[in-house]
């Protein structure tokens, strides 16, 4: 496992503090990190940014080609074929001023009319970036259907559409993302997005079938079988 104690400390930690950090590392490990700016020693080795400031959050998402892109209000949100079948969207974050080890990331997409929501929550370690922020990832392989890197993103299950009273494509939905760190510091953001069936050809056809309003489970949408992933 790569060490997450890198660089120099602004203040030499006492032996007691060092011991606490080492013990904490044994317990929770550390984020998958690159060499990075020095964290505040009082904040702990997993901390990103300034512990005295409020957490900051930027939203990210995966495109169909696996690239990780920023997500702003009004943006398109890729609806993608995942290994498990159906259609999901992959939402990630950039965050700072919080503890990046063992954060709880929750992503949710809401039908703005009925307020019905689909969500995915997961515990993960943020990666330390060179600018001092923590991220959920830097993208996945081009073939998302065979990539485990998507496990570091919130996998919001959207289709088959047995929950929204509208097509889950080409219409505006509300995206809400909440991050809670191990110290219970919390930050959230809510924006409007437009889900788009993002893969061309047969996958787009199947996406528009699985994600349409009124889809009935078992209705054939011409889907392929995906990849080995167990029962």
């Amino acid at each position: 496992m790569r060490s997450c104690i890198t660089g120099r400390n602004k203040r030499p930690p006492t032996l007691r503090v060092t011991s606490i950090y080492l013990f904490a590392l044994l317990l929770v490990g550390c984020p998958k990190s690159e060499v990075s700016p020095t964290p505040d020693v009082d904040a702990g080795p997993c901390f990103f940014g300034d512990p005295n400031k409020e957490p900051e959050l930027e939203l990210r998402a995966l495109r169909a080609d696996g690239t990780d892109v920023p997500l702003a209000d009004g943006d398109d949100l890729a609806v993608i074929f995942p290994p498990q079948g159906g259609r999901v969207t992959f939402v990630g974050v950039r965050a700072r001023n919080l503890d990046g080890c063992g954060v709880q990331l929750t992503g949710a997409l809401r039908d703005p009319v009925t307020k019905q929501v689909r969500l995915d929550g997961r515990t993960l370690n943020l990666r330390r970036e060179e600018d001092g922020w923590g991220t959920t990832g830097r993208g996945a392989e081009t073939d998302l259907a065979s990539s485990d890197a998507i496990g570091d993103y919130s996998n919001i299950p959207l289709c088959p559409n047995q929950w929204a009273d509208r097509d889950i494509f080409d219409q505006t939905f509300e995206l809400e993302v909440v991050v809670v760190d191990s110290r219970k510091k919390s930050v959230s953001k809510k924006i409007n997005v437009v889900p788009r069936c993002a893969e061309p050809g047969e996958k787009e056809t199947a996406c528009r079938c699985l994600c349409k309003k009124g889809y009935v489970l078992g209705e054939s949408c011409g889907e392929d079988a995906g990849v080995d992933s167990g029962s």
Partner: protein, 358 residues
């Protein structure tokens, strides 16, 4: 001779009745002991005996056509089957047994053979996208017998042209053992159409992009699934499935709109025993979810070092992520993979369809 002709049916009846009476009193452990339903009251389907060698995980998918099963049980083969009581018996070593309705045909096709066998993660019967829209019918993870009679007037209704898929998974490895030959038997007991007041529905929800890693050793994954209907839903059965790193599987009644975990008072299922999870069912489980609500479920894990035969090298080899961290990822191999699957049974069925949340 005449006396013998009279006596023989009596003896058969006596034997059958004795067996039925015995069955009701003591759970069975041997599928061979499971008596088929009386003619005209249901049918039985089962596997043959098969061997699971040391170190093997065997997952097989068996196909049965509903009309064939109905005919075998003396039921009209061209009429719907109204399942009201299910009995399932499996030998020791079973990891799980599921029955699904066949829907979209992908890699698993009854036209390609009545059995599709999978070994150690290989084969179409191990590919979950093959049954991603196949509604659940029944499931159990416990060795021995599951016997469940639905509430009065409730039935799971099957059309005669439907196919059912029985999936068995036996493990003979470090975490689970199959000491003898494996076998599974299932009884479907039916009720007449005029006794059916409510149709049962099933909900299957799963989290599949999961990772339980050395550097993130206590992750929790959560998800939701709506019933989507204008009327209240009565949950009468629940079962959660994960593997040996699983510490707590919980299900909650959910309002369909909140994104925070519901309070403990709304929890209707909890499992802390990965290899013998409770199969809660009516009459002990009978809880109501309000219209437009659903189920909120969580899977909590504790990372542990892999068994020696796998090692971190084995986990890393199976991990498609570029960041190797001795992670258990989603899949059917108990020693290498994890699961987070929720099975829920309810009535009345909403919008004439079952529910799947991938």
């Amino acid at each position: 001779m005449k006396r013998l002709m009279i006596a023989l049916p009596v003896l058969l009846c006596a034997a059958a009745c004795t067996a039925e009476k015995f069955d009701e009193q003591a759970p069975l452990s041997d599928p061979e002991q499971l008596q088929a339903p009386l003619t005209g009251e249901g049918f039985q389907f089962k596997t043959n005996l098969f061997t699971v060698a040391p170190g093997e995980e065997r997952q097989d998918c068996y196909f049965f056509k509903v009309s064939d099963l109905a005919k075998s049980g003396g039921l009209p083969e061209n009429e719907p089957v109204n399942l009201h009581r299910v009995r399932m018996v499996q030998r020791q070593g079973s990891h799980h047994m599921n029955v699904f309705r066949v829907r979209t045909i992908k890699g698993l096709d009854p036209a390609q053979g009545r059995v599709s066998r999978g070994l150690n993660g290989q084969g179409e019967c191990f590919k979950s996208p093959n049954w991603s829209d196949w509604p659940l019918v029944a499931n159990t993870q416990s060795s021995g017998e599951l016997d469940w009679t639905f509430p009065d007037g409730v039935a799971n209704v099957f059309q005669p042209d439907e196919w059912l898929m029985l999936q068995t998974h036996f493990v003979n490895a470090s975490t689970q053992k199959t000491p003898d030959d494996a076998e599974v038997a299932v009884n479907f007991h039916t009720i007449p159409k005029d006794q059916v007041q409510h149709e049962m529905g099933t909900l299957f929800a799963t989290k599949q992009s999961i990772r339980v890693c050395k550097s993130n050793p206590t992750p929790t994954f959560s998800g939701t699934c709506q019933f989507k209907g204008d009327q209240p839903v009565n949950i009468i059965g629940a079962n959660g499935h994960f593997h040996s790193r699983g510490k707590e599987f919980a299900m909650y009644k959910w309002d369909g709109t909140s994104i925070t975990q519901p309070p403990d008072s709304d929890r209707f299922y909890q499992s802390k025993t990965w290899d013998d999870p409770p199969m809660l069912r009516s009459p002990n489980l009978d809880t109501t979810v309000q219209p437009h609500g659903g189920v909120f479920f969580t899977c909590g894990y504790q990372w542990t070092p892999p068994v020696d035969s796998v090692g971190c090298q084995g986990l890393d080899a199976a991990d498609k992520s570029p960041d190797k961290d001795c992670c258990y990822t989603f899949g059917g191999i108990v020693e290498k993979n994890e699961h987070c699957n929720a099975f829920v049974y309810y009535w009345p069925k909403q919008a004439a369809t079952d529910i799947a949340c991938n």
